[in-house]
Symmetry: C2
Subunit: 320 residues, 2 copies
Amino acid sequence: MIIQEKIIDFLKKKQAYISGDAMSERLGISRQALWKHIQELKDKGYDIVAVPHLGYRLISSPDRLFAFEIKRALRTKFLGSQVHYFEELGSTMNVAMQLGVQGAGEGTLVVAESQRKGRGRLSREWFSPKYKGIYASLILRPKILPLQASILTLLTAIGICEAVKAICGLEPRIKWPNDILMRDKKLGGILTELNAEMDRIKFVVIGIGLNVNNEKKSLTEGATSLKAENKEELSRVGLLQEILLKIEENYSVFQKKGATPIIEKWRQYSVTLGRRVKVHYQKDYVEGQAVDIDSDGGLLIRTDSGTMEKVMAGDVVHCR
Amino acid sequence: MIIQEKIIDFLKKKQAYISGDAMSERLGISRQALWKHIQELKDKGYDIVAVPHLGYRLISSPDRLFAFEIKRALRTKFLGSQVHYFEELGSTMNVAMQLGVQGAGEGTLVVAESQRKGRGRLSREWFSPKYKGIYASLILRPKILPLQASILTLLTAIGICEAVKAICGLEPRIKWPNDILMRDKKLGGILTELNAEMDRIKFVVIGIGLNVNNEKKSLTEGATSLKAENKEELSRVGLLQEILLKIEENYSVFQKKGATPIIEKWRQYSVTLGRRVKVHYQKDYVEGQAVDIDSDGGLLIRTDSGTMEKVMAGDVVHCR
């Protein structure tokens, strides 16, 4: 792919025709080899025209999450420093988990155009149609206790909300613990899995599932997509880059200043706090007023009998 | 290996000469093929003699942790139901973690004759010389909260102590959280790593490192082995089978009756409770009297100022 990355890089920078001779010389390959790479790039969706005596020109790029497209113009310091791209795979979570066990560095990103077994919390299915959404898993290696990993879910949710607003003006909200909503419909979700010893996180995998260019008619009643909300097709590459940037900013705040500023920000995006909720947790449930988030990211609920209960995860139903 | 497993099985059951003709017929292979398998088994350390007109006879088996040797006469219900054997590998932990991510079932066991990067808590090295110790990792899938995983460390430690006593009469003791001691020297250790969502364990890998047939002179000052203590070479296969059985028994008690009976048993093996300890935990330490273990497996320490502190893991120094 490296030669092809360079070709796209030349064409994108030039924004005009480049002669085949000039390009083959700079790449150190024959005209014939160049032509073959151009054909392969066309097969990948790059619209490249060839005009005699002028050479090649890039008309448009496909909205594919190719590693080099994500890394091009990425403004993060370390998130996405390594990108593993898959046209299709079982689940980005499993691949990222395996990479983590093998020692993959902080910021390693796994993306897929579609997933056969995309999953959410408690192994529930996450519908992952091809080229429509962002299905990505990030490896982080924070020096925190296993219990504090929930804060990573919160800050990822904030990052997604901030990025969506920056890219298309929409203002999603967060339903505790891990749902991203637009008008009370599910736009996306976050899945936090950890690999840990008892007193130390070895690494965390943060999964992101986001409905981007899904057509309204393809979505179930309770789901939505950015396109369904905004009537516009979005560049998934650009959105993912912005998401990575915003997550990194919030992660950096968390590492420098702890959970407090994250929780303060999170409160503003929450649709859960202040509501009456019923949280199904393990085989039990807690019902009452969602009062606040504590420093571990747990939800504090004031029950009708006046006691305060804390839940670390669960299925939340907003009552009334 | 399946043919060779059958050959060993025949020879072990017969305990006498079996004619080559009879064996090749039962295996459905040629005399020539049988001869080749016998040579390979000899290379693996099986002492098999061939006498004209009598046939083959097994004189002795090597003390190797081959999957079929472990599974032969194993008395567990599910621990060791799948065994992945390695002559040498980096770390049984990493392989088991990867198998777990891929969905390996409860009771899956990874064993190695030696490890290049055997490790203990906090990535510390675990010296794993070839054919001398037991280096094994077990996959468990208990339906418990991530916080409760410490109980699995406790019950594994109990299982090891019980098995050692049953096999050779020695009575090891447990130093919280994860060391197995003989006369205050380190005989073995347990490493518990988990793969979890915030409110659910997906699977746990329990690592066991145990010095068995190490020569006294090969051990450092603070370490010991069963052979160094007992002057006798032990069958690692037999010991590992007994360890699996005892862990399974204690795991079953935990699943049926919860942590209480495990903690009660654990107290009897502890060399930590009642002692003055200094526990280095994260970047801090707690010093005081080790009073008890709580229902999550955490160590309760009464400090000199009279407050009770709980630590979930850490480096314990027994003072005085």
